[in-house]
Symmetry: C2
Subunit: 154 residues, 2 copies
């Protein structure tokens, strides 16, 4: 029962977007630097997120990504599903959905549903509001701002 990095990164990236929503759109280079995620991997990931309608994009210089909906409208489950992270504990095989299920089939589908409900009840806004996320986010932005003089002095 574990998550792939794709799912984990997707949530991190979406939180980054939500935290910087007031700026307008956020470039993946920024996200990549702040969250230490490979840029190429992020691009691949954001294709999925866009296809699922969770983010909008603006092309060209000064472009970037932004949330397609309010952060209260996006749930943890939405993000995970968009990142190909299926919330299904049952076996995916052909025998599974058929008329001859195994002894535990019902158990897993039941559990999966309950987990999904739970994850769907947590909005991106809920996550972003949390105390430790806030402090960590400001830390990230401070180091970001700290870099600006260096860039100007060039």
């Amino acid at each position: 029962m574990k998550l792939t990095t794709k799912g984990r990164y997707a949530v991190t990236a979406m939180m980054d977007l939500a935290l910087h929503a007031k700026i307008g759109c956020v470039s993946l280079v920024d996200v990549s630097e702040r969250q230490n995620i490979s840029l190429a991997y992020l691009e691949q990931l954001f294709r999925s997120l866009k296809k699922s309608g969770l983010v909008n994009s603006i092309r060209g210089a000064k472009g970037g990504y932004m949330l397609a909906k309010g952060d209260k409208e996006i749930s943890l489950a939405d993000i995970l599903v968009a990142a190909d992270e299926q919330i299904n504990l049952a076996c995916g095989g052909s025998a599974c959905s058929e008329n001859t299920p195994c002894l535990t089939h019902g158990l897993w589908t039941n559990l999966s549903n309950q987990f999904y409900e739970f994850l769907d009840s947590k909005s991106l806004n809920d996550l972003v509001k949390s105390r430790d996320v806030q402090t960590m986010a400001t830390m990230q932005d401070v180091t970001q701002i700290g870099n600006i003089p260096v860039q100007i002095s060039k």
Copy 2:
């Protein structure tokens, strides 16, 4: 977010043991046939279950396995953990447990704990009592009994 077959099989096998507890000990050949799980794989699996103290074994002919505790004392979480199914959504890497966690680290450990609590609240007895498990189990036993005449006629 998915389960490995090891975890899934472990729960199935433990349920089989619980369902046939009255008989005494159950051989893995029986479990293998009833639940359609490779015998060799089951043996490997039961090594883990035994090491974790969930089952006891009796060697030799007429031997087999039996639950080491009452089915109310064994939780779903116990079984999954025994089958090397770690319930941890955070990244397992070295950076993870250290002093510089990512933006979502707290979220995942939190979630993992809640999932664990939930899985730990379900006992093997709870699972076995469920309506569809009961009917499926009797079906398995009927076909089992149905085979006996064939064996005698040999």
